[in-house]
Symmetry: C2
Amino acid sequence: MTEARSLDARLHHPLPELPEASVTLSEISSLRAAGVAAGIKASGRPDVALLVADAPVACAGIFTQNLFPAAPVVVSREHLRANGGMIRAVVVNSGNANACTGERGLADAREMCDRVAAALGCRPDEVLVCSTGVIGHALPMDRVRAGIDLCLAALSSEREAGRRFLRAIMTTDAFPKEHGLALPGARIAGVCKGAGMIHPDMATMLAFVATDARATPEALRSAIGDVAARSFNAVHVDTHPSTNDTFLLLATGRAEAGFGRVQREVTDVAGHLAWLIARDGEGATKVTTIQVTGARDHAAARDVADTVAHSALVRTALFGNDPNWGRFVSQVGNAKSVRSVAGLRCTLQGVTVFEHDAPTDFDRAALSAAMRAENLVLEIALAEGDGAAMLMTSDLGYRYVEVNAEYTT
Amino acid sequence: MTEARSLDARLHHPLPELPEASVTLSEISSLRAAGVAAGIKASGRPDVALLVADAPVACAGIFTQNLFPAAPVVVSREHLRANGGMIRAVVVNSGNANACTGERGLADAREMCDRVAAALGCRPDEVLVCSTGVIGHALPMDRVRAGIDLCLAALSSEREAGRRFLRAIMTTDAFPKEHGLALPGARIAGVCKGAGMIHPDMATMLAFVATDARATPEALRSAIGDVAARSFNAVHVDTHPSTNDTFLLLATGRAEAGFGRVQREVTDVAGHLAWLIARDGEGATKVTTIQVTGARDHAAARDVADTVAHSALVRTALFGNDPNWGRFVSQVGNAKSVRSVAGLRCTLQGVTVFEHDAPTDFDRAALSAAMRAENLVLEIALAEGDGAAMLMTSDLGYRYVEVNAEYTT
């Protein structure tokens, strides 16, 4: 055992120190935001959020692939098809996921959109809806209605309004997750909630990124897959896509820049939000970026990264600051897409630990010390082709077990 | 949080009380066994084991699918092809896996077989070899040679010899894993070592099951896949097949019964050994048997069971005695082989927690209390076909993290 710490000490790790975002959602031209406490959460914390555009704005969405999509996912998908990717508002509640709630849940999700649409004077299908929280319970619609009305009255384009929106979408997040960029000719702001989960919630991820750059819905739809592949779809916390995962990308078109000019920065904002989700992975002490190169193709590279990131053995080694090359390379050998591990090179924090079919003579103590960082980079270089992929994963420590085994019934 | 226990208390769980096996390997007609301490392990515990048959006996093997097979796996595969499935001996060392050791490792594995063959007066390819322990280090061959010679001198068919063999194959196992059956007309005995791992070892599983029933090598080869599918290949501890996994099935042919008459009992013995491996999964407090029915076919059912068992969220819920139906059913919704979750029913310890697309009104406290058992059964019934599969998984608690994050460099 490395050292004789009490187990209570082993449970508690410092959180990252994060600056406030320089731009919030409500500061994107045309957008106003609000977040209020409506009593859905027993804690009394904010739980209804609303984002409204002065006029229809372009929007694209990516939703969970889980075969149990929550009611708001079903409704938002329908609405995005019906409205052609031009929306007026997004209404969100936290504290209740409206998942596994049957016809009643669908009716409730539609009513949330209807209520916002009536107030804005737009079509219901121009409103999208998201929920996160406990699954299997009907929404307390009286509180949801009251919360929506409070939000409608509180909508603001002030800086703090965006942060109130953010606080109202959080569930078990240990810290708020936001990022923004003010570029010449366009602004970008994003918020998300991460993968903290308390019974019987799941790892719902909700992410909203908006820019005032100009984009058609078609342009956003064709871009969002690539943005997500380099951000939210490159985060691994616990292999458990939830019923409610939603990523919405909005472009209000009030600024000079076209979306193509800012797509890279939009991806950076989304990527930073994704890093924050991994960093807040339950009990995580660090984020490890797994970079795979030399695979047969991108899909094979991604399979290798997934296989390594899914290993509880790998993730506990990362938690324990253990440069355990055996776990890393043998897990590469378990990836179904890999045909040959000949020429495999494995590098951790810049130190090559395995090449030429054997471990190197690296300084284990020095590398272990270098692993006590908030960001790790694990490079896996195959020699099968040009395929590359990146994945961010949290580590797995005592606190993960506590969060997931004890905050329960 | 369920209760205010100290974290040290949360780390320690009672081990199962296990009876000694009624038949040991050395008590199978024609077999003799030995196990000695040769100094490969720093602890001084037994680390070289030998199993010898008086004459060639039928044998079939299943080996790791990892793309980094250890040298003994490569050599044993070669030998089983060359000898047509008739062997004289199996030599095993623990404390060093002889994996990622290149040409030197292959030469060492061959030398182990040569040395046994010379003493027995048989061909080297009639000897199989297994190793388990640290990877990436050359075997200390002087000690291995001395250990083999000690074993050759100590070979015995007495009851305790089989147990000495067993103790010499163990690494981090918390308890010995053996099972035996004396049937009318045939005896069956099996031992294995499980999935405990200490840096940079991996979850190597070695299992040896022998019967004195009569079988041709062909019969064993055609049976072993089915035996493994219901035992060692139905165990999930941490998704990380090792470089050294080996299961050997032997039939000495000295008894009356044909193998077909005892295959079911052989499977039972292997199944119990597999249960012991899951029970000794690092820090495990219980074994959960996941039974999937109604899938499109067997492969789909197995995929569902794997997907559920691989979820750290599911495994922490099992550890926490949390009847968290949301985690179970949503993970079914993540299984790639599932097309529809309509009609899904999920039952835990005989209590249906989810059906008709919604959670049932079960007594959560009573079911949580019922989960404080050494054996759990989680039934997942789909409505897509006749496919069924079974998988045993350990739970994931604090001790798993301690074992895998702290017993390191």
